[in-house]
């Protein structure tokens, strides 16, 4: 495990690039979080909630038929089976507990496609918090079902009409709200990005993924995997997966969304297609133009469609501990179909990036190598995209006889 310095830096990355007005709240969060992490009572409460409500730990699953096709032994960490359908429940339940500890009664969140917004609204409903979710106006239209979900859960959804009207602008708007409401409001951020201590907080809350998987594979196979893979949007599921293995002799792979290709303009691969910059409170890799204006990202996967990446990932890339590669839309969709066909599992398009990347990386492994893939979420939310992408209009065979 790596931890940031006192000001929240991992090497050249991270930090706090936010208005002074927010620093007090960040420091409060840091204090409460650090205390909670060492408090057995918090840990017990978090574990109980995660298990009884979140359905954790998620199972580790040996994908026999996919393994056959890949020539390596593939194990899937089934985060798709968690309550609300992704690893995100870990983060929101943890932050909700921290919110309670800070005595706050309202949470705000940014959301792109709506997945984090739904998760945040879920946790807020569970804890009886007021909840406001900021979502680009463009996204509220494209993802109206998730808007409905959030409202059903009692959250207020605020369409954001500034900038490009997408996730990054929703995040700006959340930060703006927070400056004005910080007394009673916690900003329940959705990934390992943002100003210190958020990247560490979210990492610590999600690290159960890797901790569980490491113990599960040792228990089931008796040894550590040769390669561990996860997709990287902001990077919470990947950090949650990698953290347990950082000190092990295990290859770690993060797969970014390459859109049409990491070398094209339609990409969301901050590390592979972007450069060093500051966005949303942290120094990290950012998709930006020659002046440092943020560029719009593009990915078929709404959850990976974000122009930056958490600073700890930037650091793990810079140090070479983790290999970050881009996976294109087409590669991801093929992997999604392959997993469905071989295993009866329809995963999130985000997670399909991890599957695609792992299958590619596995080609360089010895046959029979152990590969662990974090399946970060289920694909229910993505079926509209899947239908548009694949041609499901082919006529079924005519069964009738006359």
């Amino acid at each position: 495990m790596t931890n940031p310095d006192l000001n929240g830096h991992w090497g050249a990355f991270g930090g706090r690039f936010v208005p002074e007005a927010l620093i007090a709240a960040l420091e409060e969060l840091e204090t409460v979080h650090n205390k909670a992490m060492e408090d057995p009572e918090f840990q017990a409460e978090f574990a109980k909630l995660s298990s009884e409500y979140g359905n954790l730990p998620s199972p580790l699953y040996k994908a026999e038929r996919l393994s056959e096709e890949a020539g390596v032994e593939i194990w899937l960490k089934r985060e798709d089976l968690n309550h609300t359908g992704a690893h995100k429940i870990r983060n929101v339940l943890g932050q909700a507990l921290l919110t309670k500890r800070m005595g706050k009664t309202r949470v705000i969140a940014e959301t792109g496609a709506g997945q984090h917004g739904v998760a945040a609204a879920t946790a807020a409903a569970y804890f009886g918090f007021e909840c406001t979710v900021f979502m680009g106006e463009e996204d509220t239209r494209r993802q109206s079902l998730n808007v409905a979900r959030m409202r059903l859960l009692g959250a207020e959804v605020v369409p954001v009409t500034t900038g490009s009207r997408t996730l990054k602008d929703a995040m700006n708007e959340a930060l703006r709200d927070w400056v004005a409401t910080v007394d009673d409001t916690h900003y329940l951020i959705g990934s390992v990005g943002g100003p210190h201590p958020f990247p560490k907080v979210v990492r610590d809350l999600c690290r159960g993924i890797g901790d569980e998987a490491r113990a599960q594979i040792l228990d089931r196979v008796g040894r550590l995997p040769d390669l561990v893979a996860a997709c990287v949007g902001g990077g919470s599921n990947a950090m949650g997966t990698f953290t347990a293995f950082l000190d092990d002799d295990v290859k770690l792979y993060g797969f970014e969304a390459g859109g049409d290709g990491a070398d094209t303009d339609r990409t969301a691969a901050a590390i592979n297609s972007g450069g060093l910059g500051v966005l949303h409170g942290a120094r990290t890799y950012v998709l930006q133009d020659e002046d440092g204006q943020t560029k719009e990202s593009h990915s078929i996967s709404a959850g990976l469609d974000y122009p930056a990446v958490g600073p700890e990932h930037a650091h793990l890339h810079a140090t070479g501990r983790v290999t970050y590669e881009a996976v294109t839309d087409a590669e991801a969709m093929d992997a999604l179909a392959q997993l469905a066909r071989t295993e009866g599992i329809i995963c999130a398009i985000e997670s399909a990036h991890a599957v695609a990347g792992a299958l590619r990386a596995a080609k360089d492994l010895a046959p029979g190598s152990l590969v662990l893939i974090n399946l970060s979420g289920r694909g229910d939310k993505d079926m509209g995209t899947v239908v548009d992408y694949f041609d499901f209009t082919k006529k079924p065979s005519d069964k009738g006889t006359e």
């Binding site: 208005p19 002074e20 007005a21 910080v182 950012v286």
Partner: protein, 262 residues
Amino acid sequence: MKSADAFAKTKAEGRAALVGYLPAGFPTLADSIKAIDILIDHGADLIEVGMPYSDPVMDGPAIQRAADRALAAGFRTRQVFEVVEAVAGRVPILSMTYWNLVEHYGVDAFARDFAAAGGAGLITPDLIPEEAVDWIAASDAHDLDRVFLVAPSSTEERIAATVAACRGFVYAQSVMGVTGARAATSAAAPKLVERARAHTGLPIGVGLGVRDGDQAAEVAAYGDAVIVGSAIVNCYLETDDVPAGHRRLAELTTDLAEGVAR
């Protein structure tokens, strides 16, 4: 010309300074220069030239929209130097900029070119002194003012450390909230100014929310400078008729200047 020069003058006149904010490139590049001239002509003592940025987290809707328009029209970082060069000389010209633009240009290069254009220094809304090692070095090297922000939520220790890192003046964010003209000025502001004064002899500018001469006068009662942004931007946002905007700006500035001198 540095901020200190302007504050020496206003102090001598026994009044607060009026600081006017406008994004470079808004409503157009030429008109932003013209507008700044109007601000100065009608009594602004310092100018903040805003840097249009894609992700302005400290700004409310008015300044966001102004920045969006400048960016959509093709605003480039280097054009801020043109604007500064065009308006410098009469009053100190600072730039208020989100940090990534400076970092991306190169911190020292930006400081060098900004100073060369005749600029006085930078106000950095999303840069706290802990993250400012490079900027502190560059501003020292190029003799630029360095304005950090304090906020009602800042602890005593942070106020002390932040004002110690400032040069020229201190920016007191008077409300917990983003930029935007407000119906009432902040009750928290006088308290914040008082807390900041306990740690510094620098002038203290008070920003966020002032929209007319009456409010300016209120703020001038405890602040050393009254910073006005969204109200100025609004002169141009609500009309396509730029000359009409200029006339409105002249009136507004006159009103504000009268306010700070009351």
